[in-house]
């Protein structure tokens, strides 16, 4: 496990990181290293330049913001899993963070690195899609925001330009009284999600007043399950309603699911319905 030769830079600030990215074509950002370094050790990735942003304090931590919370890109999964602010505003994000990898991965891996890597089997992109989060980005021309659902553009591809840095993620608070859940079919080896389903359900007067559902692991990027959400709207969230809604997830998949030796495309598709159903059941039981 011997990475190819490279030049290493440590950026002291976001501005310096942006400058280093602009000056070095093909440079890659290094945060927690838990996605990039394994690829480099296998020589599946061989960036000539690494820009380490791991010590930029401005990118760390979780804070309350208008209508929700803001999570610095360098915040680790372990910090998210144990954060009171996350627990109060978006408990489903903490639930998912606790299921990422293993303790070593959670202690080193960062939410920004995870979402930027754009592995469709990661947990957080699915949850952030369901939460309707916004990704805050800094580049040479200034700052911009990208909706979570638009951030991953394909398998291991994201919407960042080569010289942009993801700085933070804005997560809106879930509605008061909403129930949420993330359930995961964990790969026994990698612990990535073969299928991951996130659901946030609100109830008003015995009927579903809002539903947000996303499913990951099945296709090359997380899918917002709008057919499922539509089927839930106004329903009583009883077993029959949840069964019918979960079955609708097929309509939210593009028809081009991923498959591998462990789980075929057909199986993943079938499991998407099962895991969405389980997420809906758990979220409904927590709503009210």
């Amino acid at each position: 496990m011997f990475p190819a030769q490279l030049t290493y830079h440590r950026a002291g600030s976001v501005a310096e990181a942006v400058q280093l990215l602009s000056d070095n074509e093909g440079a890659k950002l290094l945060a927690g290293g838990h996605s990039l370094l394994p690829l480099m050790k296998l020589r599946l990735a061989a960036p000539a330049v690494l820009v380490d942003i791991g010590r930029i304090e401005a990118l760390k931590g979780i804070s309350a913001s208008d209508g929700g919370i803001t999570i610095g890109a360098l915040t680790t999964h372990a910090e998210i899993a144990s954060s009171d602010l996350v627990q109060q505003n978006a408990p489903v994000l903490a639930e998912a963070a606790a299921l990422v990898g293993d303790p070593a991965v959670r202690n080193r891996g960062t939410i920004g690195g995870s979402v930027s890597h754009a592995d469709p089997a990661s947990d957080q992109p699915t949850v952030l899609t369901a939460l309707g989060a916004t990704f805050n980005v800094t580049g040479p021309g200034g700052d911009r925001s990208i909706a979570a659902a638009d951030f991953a553009t394909g398998l291991l591809e994201n919407a960042l330009n080569d010289n942009e840095v993801l700085t933070s993620i804005s997560v809106p608070s879930v509605p008061s009284g909403a129930g949420s859940a993330y359930v995961k079919f964990s790969h026994p080896a990698s612990r990535y999600a073969v299928v991951g389903a996130a659901a946030i359900l609100s109830v008003s007067g015995g009927a579903c007043s809002s539903a947000s559902v996303a499913v990951g692991g099945v296709e090359t990027k997380p899918a917002r399950a709008s057919s499922v959400e539509a089927a839930l709207a106004g329903s009583d969230l009883g077993d029959a309603a949840l069964d019918a809604a979960a079955a609708a997830v097929g309509g939210d998949l593009s028809g081009d699911p991923m498959g591998d030796v462990f789980a075929s495309a057909e199986y993943r598709r079938a499991m998407a319905a099962v895991y969405v159903r389980r997420a809906l059941g758990a979220a409904a039981s927590r709503a009210g």
Binding site: F2, L42, P188, Y192, V261, A263, S264
Partner: protein
């Protein structure tokens, strides 16, 4: 009470240095002037080599030398196979350490770069140009044996390296007369051994003395020395092999590999030390894998479930070349165990050893016995289902009754001692079997998919009588030796030829010496792993180290005791027959105050001021122990699973093990071995499997895809034991290293199939991954 140390679960003395990271492994050793080797490996599973152009690598930064098959050809000999099964028409095609004309699996060595750092060597590999002509590939061992399959070695038709047949009784008549016959095809997939420490070799050639020192991750340094001699031509007495700390092997560090030969070659060419350590990716590609069986099996029985016959045809994949011991694993260690713990009067089997375009296959924990036990236990369950009886009861009625000194079975071997029914009873009782069946009935009524698996097993270990080893074609002996040396201060060194690498025998061997001659266990240091300071021995594998090496220690310790008794008699001015021994003290019968401690004796023997007439100075003894028979540990295991029919997930909820390994020297270490063994057998039942695609590429090439068992996927393993001493062993011990692995694969498999039976599922290949189970359930529901 020092003697009580034998049989007590004291902590492993090895652990503090291991768990604090202070142990020194091969890759930790750094010698002055040491260079680093990286090996270019074939990306093709089967290809002719048209040309190798290494010139581009030679000028790269830090590169000292580049060698190809042209350089090693005629200098290094081929890698030998050391288990030549007689009467099997065995073919032993050439296995050059560096491929020159043809590659036969992904990972086959093609060239080596030696550089000042490993990084530089790895970078330079990318500048070697190899022109390959890809050839058709075959992975499935049965497909490889068919007419028209890609021909891997020119002189091995149909890729069949050997055909080994076994016959006892009249199997055809048994099947012709049988009221009930059942059959199945069982796949035991390829497994990757995954020792925590990858393999490594550090070679240091001294041109001045003509001596070669090889630090090597070996389970058997004395065999490694012998084979280094065979491959490099350096005389055996000029080779020193050192296996320092070795971080697990599970069989994969028995073989002699191309890599150590290449490393030695580089050091001999350059006159400086050269180190090579495999990456985890290389370990997955090139370090021998286990199993790879396709087993077509049948069992005959009476309508009451009494087994009358067993018939098998087995295709055993060997990979691209024969590994050191590979022909012996699916034959001697497999077929001879077809009777299991049962009376099966008629047994016949044919095993085809078949080359295929995968990594070479060799011994992996259990080596042949898990493959045998799985087919037997699967068939017993099918018989139980066919006759409508409880699987535990069908086992009970077929078990060989208790015997204490020898029982012959139809495969031609003689078990040493056994009490199989007691083991089964203990296990059923510990599991609460009747209650489990009642709970299962209730669960099924509630629509839940609960299964209970039972298996009984017996295994062969303590390998073994050297005369038998020779008769079955093993190119070596299977005895062990030990030297026990007392120093004037009463401290003791024990030197053994076996080479423990995680099994805790530095502790258990000290316990043997403490138990025999009454020294404090902490006064005994066990030396192993260095051919220069240990006596000859054949190594640590096959659950043989405590059984054979431990016996040598016991015999040597008894020699120490007798010499001590004679010296004590002399010093106490008594007749030797009047000297009694207790707890490290020799005293005149009836006068315990008149005594000499073992430490007194050690001092007096070493200074030799007052020795009896004709007695040599010193207190040292050696023993060469060649066992009169193998040992046959046994037991019974029960597993409980629940299957989620919606997803195919399997939840292993309980695991109960009763093992009988004879006398236990350290019950805590026994329990640890059972834990590890059980987990290593559950893995292939549920998760593990090395998968090659049709092009011979390893799809499960890293721990991201190859699913090793994890603690959170397993229940508490409930470990119990019985003790039926081996009648022929000086200490009554049998061996425990592999028992768990041998029993647990079929136990868990049977539990899952028991859970799925009401759904109409009749077979699913291992590993029982969720999708396979889900498909089997859906197929059964759809009438498939």
């Amino acid at each position: 009470m020092t003697t009580r140390i034998f049989g007590s679960g004291i902590r492993r003395r090895e652990d503090p240095r291991l768990i604090t990271g202070r142990a020194s492994y091969t890759d930790d050793i750094k010698l002055p002037g040491m260079l680093h080797a990286a090996i270019l490996r074939s990306p093709y599973a089967h290809a002719n080599i048209r040309s190798v152009d290494a010139s581009g690598a030679a000028g790269q930064p830090g590169v000292v030398a580049v060698y190809t098959g042209e350089d090693t050809d005629g200098v290094l000999n081929g890698l030998p196979c050391a288990w030549l099964i007689p009467g099997s028409d065995l073919k032993t095609p050439a296995h050059p350490p560096v491929a020159k004309d043809k590659v036969r699996y992904v990972g086959d060595a093609v060239a080596v770069v030696v550089a000042e750092s490993r990084y530089q060597a790895e970078d330079a590999l990318e500048h070697i140009a190899v022109d390959y002509e890809p050839l058709d590939v075959v992975i499935n061992p049965k497909a490889a044996a068919q007419d028209g399959a890609p021909q891997i070695h020119e002189d091995v038709p149909n890729n069949i390296a050997f055909t080994w047949a076994l016959a006892g009784g009249d199997t055809d008549a048994a099947f012709a007369d049988a009221a009930v016959t059942v059959g199945d095809t069982i796949t035991l997939q390829r497994l990757i051994a995954n020792p925590m420490e990858p393999r490594s070799a550090l070679a240091q050639w001294s041109a001045a003395t003509g001596e070669l020192t090889l630090w090597n991750t070996s389970q058997n340094p004395h065999i490694a020395r012998f084979l280094t001699c065979v491959v490099t031509g350096v005389p055996e007495h000029k080779i020193r092999v050192i296996a320092p700390e070795v971080g697990g092997g599970f069989g994969s560090k028995i073989p002699y590999y191309a890599d150590e030969a290449i490393t030695a070659f580089c050091s001999m060419k350059l006159g400086v030390p050269v180190k090579w350590t495999e990456t985890r990716s290389e370990n997955y590609l090139i370090t021998t894998q286990g199993r790879d069986h396709i087993e077509e099996v049948e069992m005959a029985a009476t309508s009451d479930g009494v087994i009358t016959g067993l018939r098998t045809t087995v295709y055993a994949g060997l990979g691209g070349y024969l590994s050191t011991a590979s022909p012996g694993v699916p034959t001697i260690l497999h077929g001879l165990m077809y009777s299991g713990p049962y009376n099966i009067p008629n047994i016949s089997g044919t095993v085809y050893g078949v080359f295929n375009n995968g990594c070479p296959v060799d011994a992996y924990r259990g080596a042949g016995r898990p493959e045998a036990t799985t087919l037997i236990e699967r068939l017993v369950d099918l018989v139980a289902a066919a006759v409508g009886q409880d699987p535990a009861e069908v086992r009970r009625k077929n078990l060989i009754p208790k015997f204490e000194n020898g029982h012959d079975v139809a495969t031609g071997i003689t078990y040493d001692s056994g009490d199989y029914e007691s083991a089964l009873d203990s296990c059923l009782s510990a599991a609460g079997y009747e209650a489990l069946r009642a709970e299962q009935a209730q669960a099924r009524a509630d629509g839940r998919c609960v299964g209970i698996g039972v298996s009984s097993y017996v295994e062969i270990c303590g390998l073994g009588p050297s005369q038998v080893a020779g008769a079955v074609g093993f190119q070596g002996g299977l005895w062990e030796s030990a030297i026990i040396r007392f120093y004037p201060t009463g401290k003791v060194n024990v030197m053994v030829g076996s080479s423990p690498h995680g099994q805790g025998e530095e502790t258990t061997f000290a316990q043997i010496v403490a138990g025999e001659v009454g020294v404090d266990v902490d006064d005994v240091e066990v030396l192993h792993g260095d051919t220069d300071n240990t006596p000859m021995g054949w190594g640590t594998y096959g659950s043989r180290t405590t059984a054979v090496s431990g016996a040598a220690i016991a015999v040597a310790a008894r020699k120490i005791k007798e010499k001590s008794r004679a010296l004590a008699a002399h010093l106490l001015e008594a007749a030797p027959e009047d000297i009694e021994y207790e707890d490290g003290r020799f005293f005149v019968r009836g006068s315990p105050d008149q005594h000499k401690t073992i430490q007194d004796i050690a001092l007096m023997a070493n200074v030799a001021w007052n020795m009896p007439e004709g007695m040599e100075p010193g207190l040292e003894a050696s023993a060469f122990y060649d066992p009169p028979n193998f040992t046959y540990p046994f037991g019974a295991h029960v597993a409980v699973v629940e299957v989620d029919p919606e997803t195919g997930h399997i939840d292993l909820q309980r695991y109960v093990a009763v093992d009988d390994c004879g006398v236990q020297i350290n019950p805590m270490i026994v329990e640890g071995q059972v834990h590890g063994g059980v987990v290593q057998g559950v893995g292939p039942a549920l998760w593990e499997g090395a998968v090659y695609d049709d092009d011979g590429q390893l799809v499960t090439g890293s721990m991201l895809d190859y699913a090793l068992p994890r603690a959170d996927l397993l229940p508490e393993i409930e470990v119990h034991s019985n003790s039926t001493p081996s009648p022929h062993h000086p200490l009554g011990v049998k061996g425990i290293g592999e028992a768990g692995t041998i029993a647990s694969t079929p136990t868990v498999y049977n539990a899952v199939m028991d859970a799925l039976r009401p759904l109409g599922v009749t077979r699913v290949d291992m590993p029982l991954t969720p999708e396979k189970v889900w498909r089997a359930i859906n197929d059964a529901r759809n009438g498939g």
